[in-house]
Structures are given as C-alpha cells and as structure tokens.
Amino acid sequence: MRIGSHELKIEKRLMLVGWQAAVISILAIMFALALFSIIFVLAGINPLLAYQEIFSYAFANPYGLPLTINRFIFLLLCTYAFIIPFRAGLWNIGMTGQLYAGTLGAFAILFAFGGKNSHTAELSPEILIPLMLIAAALGGGVLGAIPGFLKGKFNINEIVVTMMLNFIVFWLVAFMIKEGGLFMNPGGRGESFELPPSVYAPLITGVPFTIFLGLGLAVLLYFLFAKTKIGYQIRAYGHNPAAARYAGISTFKIPLLVFVIGGAVAGLAGYHYFAAVPGVYKIARNYGFFGDLAFYGIICGLISLGNPLLSIPVALLFGGLSIGGRFVQGKLHIGFGVDYALLGVLMITLVAFQFFYRYRLVLRPLKGSDE
C-alpha cells in the first residue's frame, strides 16, 4: 500500500521479544476499547464516561475492587487449568466440569463432617479447610484423569471428552443440590446448604487466601516449564509427540499427568468461588454462570500464549472488565450485557492482533521504479 512517497508493507517477523508482545497486547486492548466506544455512542452514552466508570469501579472502588480480585483469582486458576494441558499441545475445554467436580468434592467433606445439618456447627478450620482443598483438587483431578487417560491410551480426542463431561457434571451438580439432593439446602431454593461460618476461608484484608494459591502457582508453573525435567517432557510432547516418543518420553503418562494437574487446579477454582468468596459460601443457584465464566480461562491462556506469569495481568484485566461492565450497565441504564459484550470484543481483538506476533508493518520509501 502506498502512503505518499512511502509504501506500507507487511513483513514476516523472525522473532518476537517479550516487550514487543506486550506492546502489541496493549495496543490491542486500546483498539478494543476504541472499537467498543462506537457501541456506547450508538447507545447514546459518552464512552469516556462509561470507561471511567468501568475502570474506577473495577479497580478503585471499595465495593468493586474485592469483586474484581475474587473474579481474578477464579479466572487465573481456570487459566492454569487450561495452560497446563495446552503446553502439552492438548486442549482442556473441561474446566467447567472440573471446577464443579472440585466443588462437589469440597462440599462432600463438609457433608461428611456434618456441616449440612447445623449451620452453627463449630468445625475445626485447621483440619477442614486443608481437607476441602485436597478434596477439591482430587475431584477436579479425577475428572481430568478421564480425558487424559483416554487420550494417552487410545488417542481419543480430548476436546470432545472434556466438553461432554462438562454437561454430565453440570447435571450432577443439579442432582446434588436440587430437590432431594444430598447437598440440598434445607430451605430448598435450588441451592446447596451453606458453609458453617467456622470454616469460611480466612481473609487477608478482605481477600481470601486463595489468592496465594493463584500467585504461588504462577511462579511454580513458570519454574516447572522453564527448569524441570517433567516440564521439558511436557513441552516436548506438546510440540512434537513423535519426537518426544523418540526421546523416550511416555506418550501415555504426559497426557494423563497434564489433565490430572489441570483438572486439580480447576477444582481449586471451584473451591475458591463456592467456599472462599465472601458472600457466596454455597453452591449458588446460578452456578452455571461461573461455569460459563471458566471458559474465559481458555481466552486468557491463549492471549498469554501459555505463559503463567503473563496470565496474571490478562486475568486481572478480564476480571476487572467483567465486574466493571456489569456495574456500568446498571448505573447508566444500558439495555444489554456490557460485561460479556466488552469481553467478547476484547477477546476477538486480542486474538486478531496476534497476527502482529508473526508479521509487522514496515513503512519504507518507495523506490524509483514503478510497477
């Protein structure tokens, strides 16, 4: 394309440095916000005002910020549940089912210790909270083991299996919490019994301790992939299973392992939302909403290119925008779901801008010769 005496060309990039990727992502976010402001304008709303409301509520408001952080922790854990198999070249579309399974595991512990019958039961948090965490990880891990085993043993497509399991576990949760279910709330209402306050997750300045799980896992996973033998085996399998097999890496153990770990992390996300976030403390009637939200883990994982550290800002942004979007929708009386619409536009732009990870635009003076 010609611009005055220069021409604009698309060239292939030979390599991409970290800061270039960051710049591209920031540009993509700005572009998405600019694009979405058209929608605000069409709805008769000043986009600058809308964005100011969104961001200040999500990141600077005493009510909004904790919501953002809780959602961020949830998204971050879901992102890891996606990333771990993703680094082995496998697609985990089953975070939803795995987080439900984890939640059921955590509530099963409560149930076993009599948490259902007495809301005021004085249960010992030092024992029960670790047990609930283990049970949540176990629940998610066991569900993850199914696609992992089938992939490793029979090379069955993991996307189909994880996706179908989502439906099964969704209805399993309904079976457990609705009329006549084991975990049914004594008052009915289509939700589970509530956590006894004695086993509420400890809060640090209002934020559940699960944030340390999320941030700790970031460092741990980064280390795992960069330095360890098992991380190397996972990456080798992810890039080229045949070559990995040649190098003596088990093509059965790796898929199984990544899905078990991924599922376990998703299980922890379930624990986080239904047993650690202040104000929830039960499997709520709208648990399907959080299941849908878990899919944003895929988006965050793809945008951060499978890098666990990069996932942190991405998940924070997505968490904040979803909270702020919902808030501004009510405040400015907008007639559509700003949160999901905004996330959708952002997601498409971020993925589209990954074009520039591989190509770049160059502006150079035209040569004398003409076509």
Partner: protein, 529 residues
C-alpha cells in the same frame, strides 16, 4: 495477464529468462544477481547444496515470491507474478517435492482440480481420454481411477507432472525429481523427461545431490553456491567430480576407505524377529543377525521392505511380533525406548523433522532430547540447561553446524545442518550400538561426506553400527557386512569385501544369493562362514 505468450514458441527459442534476480531475507542474501535462461526443448538443471538458494529461485520462478531486484522474462516479455496462479496461466508448471495432492481423491480428480474448465461441468470421460493421450505420448503408466493415497511416491510424482501438463505447461520445474524413487522408477522418469523435451517442453530440474542424474539427462547445468551462480556449463563437458567441486567449492572424495577395526565382542543379537507394519501386514519375517563392536552392518534395500520397522523395533518405538533381541547378553526385547537410550543404544531416525527434532525448540532444547534423563545433565528433576548449552556449543563447533546461536530454532536449520546436529547429539552419548536410518538421505555432497566420516569415526571407537540405506554405493563402501533386505527378509548376509554391486542390486530386488545361502545367516547370525 498476457496469456499465450508461449503458444507459438519453437525449439531453440528462449522460453524463460531470469535476469539479475536478487532476493533478500532478513539477514540472508538468498539470491544474488542470478541469471538463468532456458530454451524450448532443453533440459537445464539447477544444481546446488542445501541453502544455496535453489528453493528461493524456484519460488520466484513459480510466482510464490517476488524478487527484490531483477526480472523474469517469458517468451520475450517481462512479467510480474502476483501469485503462482499467474505463473500457471503463463505456462509454468511446478512439480513439488512434497507432493501437493488430495490423497482421498482419485488421480483424475487431482489432475482436474484447479483447472479452469473444472468447476463448471466435469467431463471426466473426455478429460480421461486427453490424459491418457499424454500418458501414451510420454510413457507414463497410471490408473486414473486410483485414489492418490494408494500410489507410490513415484506415481504421485507422475500425477503432479500430468497435472502441470494438462494445465498446458510449457516450462516444467521439477523439485528433486528422483529423490524418492527406486532405481527402476528413476529410469522410467528420466525416459519420460527426455520424451517431453523432444516435444519442445523446457524442463528445469532442481537437484541437490544425485549428480549422476544431472549428467544423464541435462543439456546444460547452472550451479548455485551461497545464492550466486558459480558456473553455467554444457553437461557434455563436465564430470561428476568437476560438478561437485563447483557446487561445494572444494574437492570432494567420493569413495571412503573402509578402515578395518579389530572386531570386538558381539553386542547385538537379533533372533527370528518379526513385526507388523502400520498398515497391518507382516513387515519383518523372522530376521536374524548379529553385530559386533567396531563393525558396520549395512542393510541395503528400497524403502518399504521392512528396514524401517526393524530400526524402530531396535530403538524401542515399535513392538516386535515375535523373536528376541539381546544387547550384550541381556534380553531387551521388551525394553522401552528410554531404557534403551540409557543402555547405550543410539538411534538416528530417518524422519529428521518429524521424529528426530522439534522444530520450535532451540538447538539447546533439541540436544536436551537425548540428555534430560541423564544424571550428568539433570539432578533431582531439574534440567541443567547451562551444562547442556555448553555441550550444544561444543557440538555446534565440532560438527560445524551452521546456526547463528544455540538459541536458534531447529526449524531454521537446513536439512544437512539438522542432520549434523542429530548425529552429534546421538554420538556424544557414545552409544555402544548405533542405528542410523537413512543418515545421508537428502543431504548435499558436503554433508553426506561429513556424516559418513563420522560413522567411520564411531566405528573406530568400537561402536557397533547398523546402517540402513537405499544408496547401494553408500552401503557397499562403508559396511563390513551387507544384508540386502527384500519384503521383510534378508536375501543373504555378505562380507563387505566380497560384495559385488550387481549382485547386491539384484538381491535388493528379491533374488536370493546362491553363494551365501540364507540358512547360514539364520543359524549363525551369518558371520561365521
């Protein structure tokens, strides 16, 4: 565009000309002022090592790249290709080395695919007649109703040629035309190429090694080295040696002296081994042999006769159906590939990019493939990348792997450099038993020489080596024992000094050696005669 520029071209007139073609890629000058021309009815080969700029030139002539400088002239008029479609419309046909065919479709469907007449109403009957005429004229034999996946590599190439001819190609670019063909197929192809040239077609074969092919068919040859034309010669006036010299830039030794090393203890013992191929038929039918320290056991055969399955079984990548494999007296028939690496078996796979390396990994990470399990390079679950980097640097300099840095991705290496890296990685484990599956396939003259020398070195260091090759000369010149393989069986096991080229060639095609009856081979491992 200007269709029909080549309609009325006559023998001896210049069909295609490239003047001063220059193409730069970031950091590389791939083509540097290349001039090239070809006349109707001429076969003009382009010869060069991997990385000499052949592929770039080919892609420019076919419209896939635009040159930075220089021009392409067809039938006397300068043309600019925006895409291969323009090139095809102007009568340029391309036969790719990696066949670009739809394997679930029939031959005729593939030929018609993309033809301007297709997409409206397909008259397969008329088309079939026309294609059959082409076949008759140039001596191609092919079943037009066969599905492409059922075809051999040679037949697929015929389909590509027919496709180009049917589109009305006047210039035919052939990328490594004989690289995947067995000797009889090669012979047929060469005859067809000559027939096409007699019909006024201009033919441009791009060739990396296989110098005899260049000598056999071309009228002229243009040699490329490092992006430049180093020689433009009449084929009648050159020899294999002088061509190699132009190509590599120095003298090349074609024959290796078979050094004899004192034979050590037997390392590998294979008894009555059988295996099933991926397609489910019996690929190995009870093979027995043994390999001792310091000797090269050569297996000669055309691909698909069971040698690949044999290599995979020995490397632990395929299950044996029956039989027994012992390494240094220990039964390893059921050992995993990891255990075999640790026991000192090294495997160089024939599929360099699909199995032997990981394209998106750096050289360091590719070297890690054979060391991550080694206590010297990983402790308590942590890989010692610093140490492996050091090893990689040693490998890169000792084997002169051309790469900007140890962090370069393996996919950016040329075939020869990648093979050097794989070879170096495996050899630096100092394997007791080395299985080299087609170690020089597709390599240029310089890299081939290098790989063969390294195999000889490993032999001197007492490694037992199984060399699997389709190149009869390679097997004959390197091996202490030669076992021609045909349909899953050895046709005999012959001492290296006693081999005769003709007889081994015949054995590769299935005739048994009467002088060396196979039962000797099966009972005694074939060595003690």
């Amino acid at each position: 565009m200007q269709n029909g520029l080549l309609e009325s071209i006559k023998r001896g007139e210049t069909v295609l000309e490239a003047r001063g073609i220059t193409k730069r890629f970031p950091g590389v000058l791939a083509n540097d002022r290349i001039d090239f021309e070809i006349k109707a009815g001429e076969i003009h080969a382009i010869l060069g090592e991997n990385g000499a700029g052949k592929t770039t030139l080919m892609n420019i002539l076919f419209g896939l790249y635009q040159p930075d400088e220089g021009e392409v002239i067809i039938g006397g008029k300068e043309v600019k290709f925006r895409s291969p479609l323009d090139a095809i419309d102007l009568g340029i046909g391309m036969v790719h080395q990696n066949r670009k065919l739809v394997s679930a479709h029939t031959v005729i469907e593939n030929i018609v695919l993309g033809h301007p007449r297709a997409g409206k109403i397909l008259d397969l009957k008329r088309t079939g007649h026309e294609i059959n005429e082409l076949c008759d004229r140039y001596g191609f034999k092919i079943d037009l109703r066969a599905k492409v996946w059922q075809l051999s590599e040679g037949e697929k190439q015929v389909v590509e040629i027919l496709k180009a001819l049917y589109r009305g190609a006047k210039v035919l670019i052939l990328d490594e035309p004989t690289s995947a063909l067995a000797p009889p197929e090669t012979k047929k192809l060469l005859a067809s190429i000559e027939a096409m040239a007699r019909d006024e077609l201009a033919i441009v074969p791009f060739i990396t090694h296989k110098l005899p092919i260049v000598l056999a068919i071309s009228d002229r040859v243009t040699v490329l080295r490092r992006g430049r034309v180093t020689a433009r010669l009449e084929t009648a006036r050159v020899t294999e040696k002088s061509l190699a010299k132009e190509m590599v830039g120095r003298e090349v030794i074609f024959r290796l002296e078979r050094t004899s090393v004192e034979k050590g203890e037997p390392i590998l013992q294979v008894e009555n081994l059988s295996a099933v191929s991926d397609k489910g038929f019996l690929a190995l039918k009870g093979i027995s042999f043994s390999v001792r320290e310091g000797e090269i056991f050569g297996i000669a055969g055309v691909s698909g006769n069971g040698q690949h399955e044999l290599a995979e079984i020995l490397a632990g990548l395929r299950k044996a159906e029956g039989g027994k494999v012992t390494l240094g007296g220990r039964d390893i028939t059921y050992c995993t590939s990891l255990e075999r690496w640790q026991m000192g078996i090294g495997y160089i796979p024939s599929e360099r990019t699909e199995v032997g390396s990981i394209g998106d990994f750096s050289l360091v990470e590719n070297v890690t493939m054979n060391f991550y399990f080694d206590d010297a390079y990983s402790q308590r679950g942590i890989v010692d990348y610093r140490n492996i980097r050091k090893l990689t640097q040693e490998i890169v300099s000792e084997y002169s792997v051309m790469a900007p840095s140890p962090d370069t991705k393996a996919k950016n290496l040329s075939g020869g450099n990648l093979q050097k890296l794989i070879l170096a990685r495996v050899l630096s484990r100092r394997p007791r038993l080395l299985i080299a599956n087609l170690p020089t396939q597709g390599l240029d003259v310089g890299a081939t020489e290098f790989v063969r020398n390294k195999l000889m070195e490993a032999k001197k260091q007492k490694a037992g080596i199984i060399l699997i090759s389709e190149d009869l000369d390679e097997v004959l010149s390197l091996s202490d024992w030669v076992a021609p393989i045909y349909e899953g069986e050895f046709m005999g096991i012959i001492a290296g000094e006693e081999t005769k080229r003709d007889r081994v060639g015949a054995m590769m095609a299935g005739s048994r050696s009467s002088l060396f009856p196979p039962q000797v081979g099966e009972d005694e491992g074939g060595k003690e005669t």
